[in-house]
């Protein structure tokens, strides 16, 4: 990149290759698709996390748009300041927060709640890889039931993380957000469409992107997309859109048993070794069944 005028900008990508993510990183793909959908007239506010670290190894950066990282917990508050000031100046840049699940579900909750309650015109995007990966795989409020992490280790006294995933989309919809959506790196077109839609809607919008992490979940980096698809097809992840608090569009699937998804990852290995833990697997299947019923994702089987 030499110039920064529209004419010289031959690439459609504002998140460039050459960053330092692991091979097969789900969040890296999310970053690329988000930046592509958002375009050049965008300011990115990042939280501490993998994306912050791997996309900006000193003295380089993968971002071609203005980008700021402040602390772990305050991206939504920094974005609030950026947006309020731009608005007062009559400027039209779009403001996007890109933060991980630890920053979103746990430490940043206070600032996020404030941003949504005050109604800033910011699109907050959480890349959800379901644990603190940057510090070495500790559980977060987004870690699924029974996943083993370094702070929810499976063993004789534990089956891994004992709590279900926090429902952040519902919490932000309850703040009166006009647009809340979930998507996955396994559905790239859907992800980009949702980013564009959120940016076109005034007010605080939220998108949660399922972003499989080969390092933290324990699978081969060439299978990232496949893991994303298995999550969707098993019903453990659901792509949907909520407009003014009402679920509108849901991705329907021909459901497969959760086994196929769980067996593909080392973080669930303890459920199958030394012998299959049928009780625990049944609990996870029940979560998928409950999701299927709640969102109506099952495609009816033709007789």
């Amino acid at each position: 990149m030499t110039g920064n005028t529209e004419k010289e900008n031959v690439s459609v990508d504002y998140f460039e290759s050459g960053h330092r993510a692991c091979g097969g990183c789900g969040p890296a793909l999310a970053g690329k698709l988000i930046a592509r959908a958002a375009g050049p007239n965008t300011i990115i506010v990042a939280s501490t996390g993998c994306m912050e670290v791997f996309s900006t190894p000193y003295p380089e950066t993968a971002w071609k748009t203005p980008w700021i990282h402040s602390l772990f917990q305050n991206a939504a508050a920094v974005a609030s300041g950026v947006e309020a000031s731009l608005k007062r100046q009559g400027r039209d840049e779009k403001v996007i927060v890109i933060a991980g699940d630890g920053a979103t579900f746990d430490i940043g909750m206070l600032c996020i709640s404030g941003m949504f309650e005050r109604g800033h015109d910011v699109t907050y995007i959480c890349y959800d890889n379901e644990a603190y990966m940057n510090t070495g795989i500790q559980r977060s409020g987004a870690t699924p039931f029974d996943a083993s992490t370094t702070t929810s280790p499976a063993g004789k006294l534990s089956n891994g993380n004992s709590r279900p995933k926090k429902d952040i989309p519902a919490i932000l919809a309850a703040h009166g957000s006009p647009y809340v959506a979930t998507t996955s790196i396994a559905t790239p077109k859907d992800l980009m469409d949702k980013v564009k839609r959120a940016l076109s809607i005034k007010g605080p919008c939220y998108i949660q992107v399922h972003a499989p992490c080969c390092t933290g979940w324990g699978f081969d980096g060439c299978k990232t997309m496949e893991l994303g698809r298995l999550a969707l097809n098993s019903g453990l992840w659901v792509n949907y859109e909520m407009v003014n608090g009402v679920v509108e569009k849901v991705k329907k699937v021909k459901r497969i048993p959760v086994d196929d998804y769980l067996k593909a990852q080392k973080r669930f290995r303890h459920l199958y070794r030394p012998q299959e833990n049928k009780d625990e697997i049944a609990k996870i299947q029940a979560i998928a069944d409950s999701n299927a019923q709640k969102y109506g994702i099952d495609i009816p089987v033709k007789k």
């Binding site: 602390l71 510090t135 702070t151 006294l157």
Partner: protein, 368 residues
């Protein structure tokens, strides 16, 4: 064994049965080890949503009568500041591990520093006193963590293990004793008020929740009953003077250091990694007259140790900060103090110290 693991093991040996924490490099191994070990000893490990919640949880746990600890590094430590003052004024025994990294802000997450030494002492608003221990070996990560719990129980104040990335991530062979000396909580005597003290006993007994005491815990200025008394000048003055005095008046008993070469003119004062470097140059150059003070407890500052070096013409203070404890040394001695900051993430090398030694030697002149 790794330093951070030795710290967690020391805490368990001291009787710690509650850990509330949040992942942060370079301290995370403490939390990870606690997550693994707590179920085995019947204790509690909770991962909280941030460091404010982490320190809050251990304060809550401490009032139920258990020994509680958290571990963090720079940014998380900054988030804990308000609660450190709360623990001080409510006299809640807690242990905080700070495996220091380069700051300010996110700084150098994977590199070593000692930039929080003033922050642990003065970071929270108002006047109070705390105790801060500084390990320079993995063995001391274990021993000083045990000691930190004992001091927290004895003085009812926040106690800090101010380690750093170098010692936290260092691996050394250590000796774990079959048992360690443990100080347990002194329960409030029946019939006494929760904060009833006298000049000889400035630390009140602890009115554990549910043990039959009438307990009212507040961060407001409070009287001996524990009830708010926020506009009475004397109540506030007495309380703050006691919070400071209960630790500062005992600083020479609390002091923990070792000294060498007490007849030397050039004296190194170190804590943490630089202690290792001084020991190395003393080993490499046994003929040189080098004085050495290694502080295992930096706060309260044991200024009497400086008097052990009657011939001292200069105190050299190598620190991985811009001179935080060096300033404290200068406050207590008319002798020249030379700051030797090392920033960027590395500990002092023997060359760093020898250069400073030679420079000062040339200035002093004369024979060895």
């Amino acid at each position: 064994m790794q330093g951070n693991i030795a710290c967690a093991e020391g805490a368990l040996a001291a009787g710690c049965r509650f850990f509330g924490g949040y992942p942060i490099t370079p301290s995370t191994e403490v939390a990870e080890h606690m997550a693994k070990m707590m179920p085995k000893v019947g204790g509690v490990f909770i991962q909280m949503e941030d460091e404010i919640a982490s320190i809050s949880s251990i304060i809550g746990a401490s009032w139920t009568g258990v020994k509680a600890m958290t571990a963090t590094s720079g940014p998380g430590f900054s988030l804990m500041m308000e609660n450190i003052g709360y623990a001080a004024i409510t006299e809640t025994p807690i242990v905080i591990i700070n495996v220091q990294r380069g700051g300010p802000s996110t700084g150098q997450p994977t590199m070593s520093a000692q930039g929080d030494m003033m922050q642990c002492r003065f970071g929270s608003h108002g006047d109070f006193s705390i105790i801060a221990l500084t390990p320079s070996t993995v063995q001391e990560m274990y021993e000083l963590t045990v000691k930190a719990f004992n001091l927290a129980e004895e003085f009812r104040c926040p106690v800090f293990l101010m380690s750093d990335e170098t010692i936290g991530h260092m691996r050394e062979r250590i000796e774990i004793p079959d048992s360690v000396d443990v100080v347990n909580r002194k329960e409030l005597e029946k019939g006494k008020l929760p904060y009833e003290t006298d000049a000889d006993n400035p630390v009140p007994g602890f009115p554990t929740f549910g043990h039959g005491h009438r307990v009212h815990v507040t961060g407001l200025t409070h009287d001996a009953r524990g009830y708010p008394d926020t506009t009475n000048h004397k109540t506030h003055s007495d309380l703050v003077r006691r919070l400071v005095g209960k630790v500062e008046s005992k600083r020479h008993e609390i002091a923990d250091y070792d000294i060498a070469g007490t007849d030397a003119e050039i004296v190194f004062l170190t804590y943490g990694p630089a202690t290792r470097t001084v020991r190395q140059i003393m080993k490499d150059s046994p003929d040189l007259k080098i004085g050495h003070i290694n502080l295992r407890i930096v706060w309260p500052f044991p200024e009497n140790v400086l008097k052990e070096f009657p011939n001292a013409k200069v105190f050299i203070v190598p620190e991985m900060n811009m001179g935080q404890i060096g300033r404290e040394v200068a406050r207590h001695t008319p002798v020249k103090v030379v700051y030797l900051p090392k920033l960027g993430g590395d500990m002092h090398t023997p060359q760093d110290l020898m250069e400073a030694y030679d420079r000062e030697k040339a200035l002093i002149g004369g024979g060895n």
